[in-house]
Assembly symmetry: C2
Homo-oligomer: 154 residues x 2
Amino acid sequence: MQKSTPKRPASSAVEDYLERILELINTKGYARVVDIAESLSISQASVTNMVQRLDGDGLLKYEKYRGLVLTTAGEELARNITHRHHLLTDFLQLLGLDAQTIHHDVEGMEHHVSPATVHAIESLTAQLKRQPALLERVRSGAAPARVGRATTAL
Amino acid sequence: MQKSTPKRPASSAVEDYLERILELINTKGYARVVDIAESLSISQASVTNMVQRLDGDGLLKYEKYRGLVLTTAGEELARNITHRHHLLTDFLQLLGLDAQTIHHDVEGMEHHVSPATVHAIESLTAQLKRQPALLERVRSGAAPARVGRATTAL
DNA sequence: AAACAAAGTTAGCCTCGCCTAACTTGCAGC
DNA sequence: GCTGCAAGTTAGGCGAGGCTAACTTTGTTT
């Protein structure tokens, strides 16, 4: 008897795996251990291990040597994290950040943004897109009407 | 011989410790093991352990049973993470999120925001503060001119 | 069908960051 | 100056999530 559906909040690692698996399935039609390992830059052994855990947690269906498919729960989680990923990327792009910074920051932040914040940033992003002048000021680093720009904290 | 200054990027845990230590020093004038443990909701043993590591890494000066002080490097790091914390909190407050969500998300995100992004969000925050009407639309969840609000991803 | 390569798996190990239990140190109060 | 308690430390351990090395399975090639 494995620990099916203990409903732990899904760690960052778990979210990363699911996100990549969904991406692979969407682009190649399937997700092999070797592809997941490559995509996450970790060893095949680690992937096998995690995939077995995800099977036990009911997030995917896995048959030794044969492959895997996401369950409804797994796909939902994967879509959710993917959504956060895209949203944050879109948002940071709007602010004029470079691709590398965006990638790094999104990869780190995406696991910690709650639904309410997702919604707020979606709303903000939508508003910002209709304010090209404001965005231009943001991108040029304008911080008007302040005496010291404050690199200070506390 | 300990590993002094191998300059690893400072883990989230390390940043959390430094942030709390600085906060304690700023409010109580000192940071004892027991206070740090209380503040981070972890055991004293864990704190002792980490404090010894931080000493080895040159982020603070520590004398057994006697206490600790941040080094210049440690204080700089602490101020930096504190700054990110305040900035993100300020930003999310602007979006109208509730205190609990803000606390949770900031605690998670603050470790993953690079300098360029910090700067961009500072700039954005400054601009937003002069746009009460826009902020009102964000807070009320307005996402105009879209047919389906899209909970979809991919 | 035999052999070989690529993919997958298992076993054993490591680091990080936390824990508890047991011991030591420092400091008040008597 | 002894004693008792709070603070601090040490020892040993655990789970997550990585790793390498060695083995097995699959599938292709001849």
